[in-house]
Each structure stands twice: as structure tokens, then as C-alpha cells.
Amino acid sequence: MAEATSTAIKPVKRASSGRPNTLALLLNNTLATAGLVVFGLIVLIALAAPLLPLPDPDVTAPANRLFRPLTEGHLLGTDALGRDILSRLIWGTRVSLLVGISATLIAAFFGSLIGLVAGYAGGRVDTLLMRGIDMVMAFPYILLALAIVAVLGPGLLNALYAIAVVNIPFFARNIRGIALGLSRREFVDAARLSGKSNAQILFIEVLPNVLPVIIITMSTTIGWMILETAGLSFLGLGAQPPQADLGSMLGDGRKILFTAPHVSIIPGLMIFALVMSINLLGDGVRDVLDPRLKSGALTRPVARTAVTRENAPQDMTPVAGAILDVRGLKTEFRFGGQVYKAVGGVDMAVRRGECLGIVGESGSGKSVSAMSIMGLVPTPPGSITGGVALLKGEDLFAASDERIRQLRGSAVSHVFQDPLSTLHPLFTVGDQLVEAIQAHDPVSKTQAREKAIDLLTMVRIPNPAERLKSYPHELSGGMRQRVCIAMALAHDAQIIIADEPTTALDVTVQAQVLSLMNTLRKEHDAGILFITHDFGVVSAICDRVAVMYAGQFVETGTTEEILSAPAHPYTAKLIDCVPVLGQPDRRLDAIEGRPPVVNNLPVGCAFAARCPRAQEDCRAAPIPLTEFGEGRTVRCIHPLTGETTDV
């Protein structure tokens, strides 16, 4: 997963080319667009009120009272005093909008200020400010607004103040939460070390990052504020006669609701349309601006990666002895019209009891390759566009969803990098193990619990019966990863796909987990597909290694051969650029440049631009993976042979 996102994020260039812009994203949301259109229309009409040929909204004409709508000269009829309802409606909307927006701005300003200061300062200041806010919140809002209006006296301006004050806590609490998180971020420390004062950090560093949240909060609050204004006016505490305002119009019509319903229904509908459109638009704005939603959380991936290969390969006989045989695997991601070829044709075979390591840098496609096998790449945006994955001869890409569900966690299981995010924080380790056991095995809870104890014993967790009652956060990182391994072995797994399982662990713990995995694969005769970036880890556990670069294997072979005599210049460089323990004087040979972005791969060798041995023919055509001795392949036409080791 991490691999997939990093592949996706890296290519974003200056003007975020190819990625839809904010407005396009907003317009993509039908409801939000509808809201925008309605709201825009209402605002336009309200703004144009002085220009429109409307009768004076406040002139009474008792002779013309209570005309029905669609009367000559009064499109929406007249009210109890004979005033034109259309005119009053438009002028009233103007007032309501003005009050709603001003109140929101005032509340946003003071609320955000309080929230920012409280979140940044923390400690006593935070306690003091937030308890004050709590006190404001402890009153029912309408009561508080009434109290404020009672003190200040009725009137539109006073109603505006009351509504603003009542809504300050809403902003303060929201912003404080965000500011609190931001203030503990590294860039704030960095700004402090750059000599900035607290005020400078708060307003120059923190505020710009909070701004989207303020705007989101505002967009979802305006509707609410207009409703509250209408509420106060309805009670006669807002706009004073004869001034028109949606709430007071509603209040006027209340007494004649049964004789002349249109007098109250029309402003009621207006309030409904206005608030509804603002809320729809506000939700749309939030979805677009919220970074969590922006990253694609709104597009719900389906349970299995889409397979869109055109024709499956004819030859489906697996390599002799291989449990897992993947051939020509291609996985692509589509973002805003661009195609990212994360995996561009990968062949691999894992035999029983064997450990195949896939080594590569971030973005090389190693995780995506592994995730594709069981259809764990999120769709959209990912899809498998070619190749075949055979599990003991069965084509996994052609299997039914139900079949894949059966295989996941039983014949093929996964161990991921971060055990803390893999395990559910709210359930005990025992519950989760029992669930994993019962998912594929119809045994009673007691039996499952016994099996869970056996599993924990197997992964060398001391005192397993007690540990079953622990929550993930109560275990150390190494223990958590052991639990994940136990879970992966719950159903006699034939293949374990381990995606950087030790990267998040400390070295001493890493050594333990590696030797545990090494023992278990022999005990269970299971194959391991081991993804890592560390050649040291590879040496410790893998029998064979595949080195991956820009979505393709560039070299495969046994661990010893590859480490002692790498044939592909990339492999050689990758080994040379890592400091090795015990050789402090070794010159670190950095690889200049950066890996290519997988939406724009060169025709020839993807490594040519960084390769010291690159020649004209390297760039001319795709380089095939060729045999290079017994059980060894290399994707290079000028491979390193023994005598020229100095790359």
C-alpha cells in the first residue's frame, strides 16, 4: 500500500499536472454542484435586489392584503399588510444572507483566534480558554442568544452579535484540535530554531495550515447561522418591523397560517432552499479541501483488484515444484488521465520452503507486485492489466471472489510492515487470532482459543494464555509482529507474503523476528515472498533475490551470487551505496539522480540515465531479461562480469 501511494505521490509536479484541480473536483460532486448553482442563483438575485423592478418591500397597502400568488402585479401574492411578498422575499434574503455571513466571519475570527492560541500554547492557557468555551457551550444556544439579546435589546445587529458569540465555541474547539496537532510538528520546532518568536510561529507557520479547516468549518456553519438568525427574528428579537427578513416574514405569517398559508410557506421554502444549498455546497467544499478525503478516501476501493488483462497466457503449466508462479504480471494505476505502470511485467516463482526476496527502493513496485497476487491493490485506481498468478496451477486472476476470499489468510497469508496498524486496536490479540482461525475453520470458540495459544507458543511468545488477553498497544513492536506472524500461520499457509516485516523494528528485535521466520518456514514448509530494501536482511533469510527497478526485475539469482558478483549495474550500485558494518572506511558510492517516474518510462533501459556503463544501444529498445548463468537472469546488455567490478 505504501508503495502504491508513494508511486502515486511522487509524480506530482509543479502545477500538479494531470491531477484534477479543486474546482473540477468540486464540480464532480453532483450534489455540491446543485448546491452551488442554487446558492449562486439566490446570492445573485439578492445582490441584484436594488436593480430589479421590485415594488418597495415596506410600503403597506391594506386594500391589497393577502392576494394569492400569481396575482396580477404580485407574482407571489401579498401579505397581511398588502406588501409584495416577492419583493420582501428578495430583500429579506439579502438581510438574512448578510447577517448569516457576517456572523460566521465574526465567529470564525474570534473562535479561530482562541482555538489557535489555546492549541499552540497548551498547558494553563489552553485549560483557561477551553474551560471558558465550555461554559459558553454549557448553555443551550438559543437560551444564550436570547439572554444576549435581552441584555442588548432586540435588533438585527444585536441578533448578529448573539449568533456570533454562540458559535464561537464551535470554531474554537475545531481549530484548537488542529492547532494542537500542528504545534507538535517538526516544522514548528524547525521554525523555533530558525529564530522565530511564538507569535511569528503561530501566525506565519501554523495559521496557513489551519486555514483550510477554518474555511471548511465556515462553509458548514453559514447555513446554521442563517437558520439561527431566522429563529431569533421569528421570535421577534431580530429584524424589527417593517424591515423584511426571512425569519420575521415567517413569524408574520404564523398567525394566518390556515387562512393564507402562502405568507409563511414562501419564506419557509426560501430558508429551506438557502440552507440546503449552502450545506450541500459546504459538504462538497469540505470533501475537496480536507486532505484526508483529498487523498482518495472518498473513492471506496472494491474488495479485490480489478483484472483487465486482455488475454490470459495460454501456457498455464507452473514451473516444476513452484507453489506460486507469477508470469508477466502488470499492474497499473490511473490518476487524472495518466497511467502509472507500477509493475511492468514481472515473473517470479516461489517453491515450498523457499524464501524469495524482492529488493528495491521505494516506488520500484515491489509492494504492488506482491499485493497484486491476492488482489489487494486498491481499485480504483489500480488494476491488473496483464499476466497470470498461479497458486499450485490455479489462476488467481481468473478465480471467483469467493475463492479468493477463501485463499486469503489461509493458503496465502500476509505479514505487513507496521503491526500496530495491522492489528485492530480495540480488540484483544486473542479475539483477533480466534477470528482469524474461525474465518476459515468452523471450530468452536474454545477450540479456536486453544489453537490460538498453540500459535502464540509457536512464535515463541512467553506466557501465551495470558498474552491472549492483551491489547495490541500493550505489546512491544516485536511481540506485535510475532502475533501477526502467528495469524499468518493460522491455516497452514503455503505462501507468506511478507512486506518489509522488520523495517519498523529495532535491530535486536529484527534479528529475532527474522530467525523466527526462518525457522517457521522450514517447520511448515511454506514459501516466503519477502519484500525489503535491505541487503543485510536479504542475506539473513532469502535463498533467492530479485532486484526491482522501475516496475521490473533487473536481476534475479541466488543470494550469494548476487551479493558477491552483481551483474546489473544497478544491483552493484545499490550494494555499494550502503555502509557495511565492520568496514567504516568504505567509500559510499551514491547513485546520482532519481529513479524514473513510472508514468513516463524511457523506451530502453530505465536505469540508463543513472548508469555509468550506459551506451547508445541501452536507450534504443527495451532490454529483455536474459539468462546469465545457472538460475540467474539479468536485464542488461552490458552486464558486469567478474573482472570489471569497479562501476
Binding site: K10, V12, R14, R185, E186, F187, D189, A190, A191, R192, L193, S194, G195, K196, E205, P208, N209, E361, S362, V459, R460, I461, S476, M479, R482, D506, V507, T508, V509, Q510, A511, Q512, L514, S515, L516, H533, D534, F535, G536, V537, V538, S539, A540, L563, K573, L574, I575, C577, V578, P579, V580, L581, G582, P584, R586, L588, A590, I591, E592, R594
Partner: protein, 327 residues
């Protein structure tokens, strides 16, 4: 190497929590750093290595004045660093700077690189516009980045480039000492080498002194003159890098070195699974490594082993009653 150390940390201690609640109940306290005594001489690189939770980052934050020790003294260039950080962090920041672990998180996502790099020039050095411009070009050149990158935003950079910007920011005020907190652990291996080479180059060019914190033994070995190994908030072994790595005396250092994966090393000798860190709220009275140590005796559990000179080499010290033999 001059005689007076540039930075000397004397019995530094940092306790988190503690104190009493409103009703007088004592609150739990965690000793993140305890009794740490280290010296850093001008021009050298002190590597600090240890596993997560050993207090190395807390130590780093205390050296740059982002955190204050609850006990002990930190002296920089003859001045009390803790007092100075309290009343004039800017003065300290002109001489001691920090490079963060996560290069992207340490750059404000809404500021251009120019704004980020100008901040220390404006606030710490009070440079004028023309001087600033010149210095910016110098800095970008020092970390091998093109000057046109100045107008870009942090998200447009890869991890390695972002970390070079982080280094440029630390260099901006022309400091004497730079504390590097895991500066390469978030980077890909090929990029890691680029950054390490740049750091090495800058050190020679500007006569810098580094405190290099990392959990990666091979990286620390390749950059450090001297190494301090930390475990559970204390320094358990310190000495010349070569000596410590070739002849580790403390059993923990021994274990670390045995556990580290290296290309070509087939078997990792792993201890058995019951190897938890001690409970930080309830630390053992003696050596914190007692439960994991194959050489432990009753004495280790009863008494705290002091950090003492050991072996032939000067400055090689280990806190162990039963250290491994020197070769």
C-alpha cells in the same frame, strides 16, 4: 582536537511526568535520559546509537535547547546552554542547529523553500536583502541543489532533496555544532549515500562538529569518530568508533552488533523472545540490561554499574560489572 570540549554534557537528566496531582497523589514519571555525561570536541563527529525509546532523541532536543533537562548541566563553548536556551534561544540557535528525522514533516508545507531558508537569515543573522540573496545561493550550492528550487514548495521534493533543504536550513546561520537526529533513516538507500556524502563534505568545508544520532549501526560506524551507545536512557558504552565497534565491551553493544544484518551475513544470532525493555515507570534498581544479559550476576540487579574507563584505549568506557574481554 583542542582540550576544552565544544559541548559537554554533565549528568544530564530528563524526567517526563512526575509531580503530584491535585489531591497530592504522585504522578508516574519516566526517566527518558538519566545521568548522561558526554563530551564533544571541536571538529569531531559523535555518533549516538541505540534502539527506539533509549532517549537519544530527547538528548538531541536538549542539546539544541528545544527541551530543558530536569537535572545536570549542558555546557556549550564555556556557556551554560540550558540557561541560554531559556532566555535567548536565538543566540544559541546561531551556534547549535538541528536536522530532523523526517525531512518532509520538518518543512512547512505552505511555505516556499526560499521562505523557509530565509527565516534563519532574517531572525538569527539579521541579514539585509542583498546579503540574504547571496547566502541563499551559497546554501543551495553547498547542498547540491539548483537555485531555481528556491521558489518551489516542499511537496515537490523527494525525501533526499527535502533532507538536503533541511541541512541547508541548519547551515544557514553558520553554526558550530549540528545535531543530526536520524537524518537518513527516512531515506532510500541510494539517496542515503548522497546525503551522507554531502554531510561529510560540509563538515570538512565549514569545520563543523556533528552529533549524529541513529539506530543504524553501519551508518553510525561510517560517519563517527567517537560513538556512544545508549540503552534505557543511559550511556552504556562510549569510546572511539573503531574500538567500540571492533571490541565492544558492554554485552548490549555486543548484542547490537551481532543482531545487525549485513550483506553476506547468513545467520543472525538471536536471543530468545523474552527480551522486553524494563518498565519505564518502574525501572530496575540495577543495570537495565540485566534481564536480557547473558553475563548477568546478582550484583547487576542490585547496583547500577558506573560508566568507567575500560581497556587500553583512552576514553573507552563501559557501564558493566562483567564486560567482554578486549581482544
Amino acid at each position: 582536537m583542542s582540550d576544552a570540549p565544544l559541548l559537554s554534557i554533565e549528568k544530564a537528566e530528563r524526567v517526563f511526568g512526575g509531580g503530584r496531582t491535585l489531591f497530592g497523589q504522585p504522578k508516574p514519571a519516566v526517566h527518558a535520559v538519566q545521568d548522561v555525561t558526554l563530551e564533544v570536541h571541536k571538529g569531531e563527529t559523535l555518533g549516538v546509537v541505540g534502539e527506539s525509546g533509549c532517549g537519544k532523541s530527547t538528548l538531541a532536543r536538549m542539546i539544541v535547547g528545544l527541551d530543558a533537562p530536569t537535572g545536570g548541566r549542558i555546557v556549550f563553548d564555556g556557556r551554560d546552554l540550558v540557561a541560554e536556551a531559556g532566555h535567548d534561544l536565538r543566540r544559541l540557535s546561531r551556534e547549535v542547529q538541528y536536522v530532523f528525522q523526517d525531512p518532509v514533516a520538518s518543512l512547512n508545507p505552505r511555505k516556499t523553500i526560499r521562505t523557509i531558508l530565509e527565516a534563519p537569515l532574517i531572525h538569527l543573522l539579521k541579514l539585509g536583502k542583498a546579503d540574504r540573496e547571496r547566502r541563499l545561493i551559497e546554501l543551495m550550492d553547498a547542498v547540491n541543489l539548483a537555485p531555481e528550487f528556491l521558489e518551489r514548495y516542499p511537496h515537490e521534493f523527494s525525501g533526499g532533496q527535502a533532507q538536503r533543504i533541511g541541512i541547508a536550513r541548519a547551515l544557514a546561520a553558520d553554526p558550530k555544532l549540528i545535531v543530526l537526529d536520524e537524518p537518513v533513516s527516512a531515506l532510500d538507500v541510494s539517496v542515503q549515500a548522497q546525503v551522507l556524502n554531502i554531510l561529510d563534505d560540509l563538515k570538512a568545508r565549514f569545520g563543523l562538529t556533528y552529533v549524529f544520532i541513529s539506530h543504524d549501526l553501519s551508518v553510525v560506524e561510517s560517519v563517527s569518530d567517537r560513538v556512544a551507545v545508549m540503552y534505557f536512557g543511559r550511556v552504556v558504552e562510549v569510546g572511539e568508533g573503531r574500538t567500540v565497534f571492533r571490541e565492544p565491551r558492554h554485552p548490549y553493544t555486543h548484542l547490537l552488533l551481532k543482531s545487525a544484518p549485513a550483506p553476506g551475513r547468513r545467520s543472525l544470532i538471536a536471543e530468545d523472545a523474552n527480551t522486553e525493555l524494563p518498565d519505564p515507570y518502574n525501572p530496575p534498581p540495577g543495570c537495565a540490561f540485566y534481564a536480557r544479559c547473558p553475563r548477568h550476576t546478582d550484583q547487576c540487579n542490585a547496583q547500577m554499574p558506573p560508566l568507567e574507563d575500560i581497556g587500553a584505549e583512552e576514553g573507552h568506557r563501559a557501564a558493566c560489572f562483567h564486560p567482554h574481554e578486549g581482544r
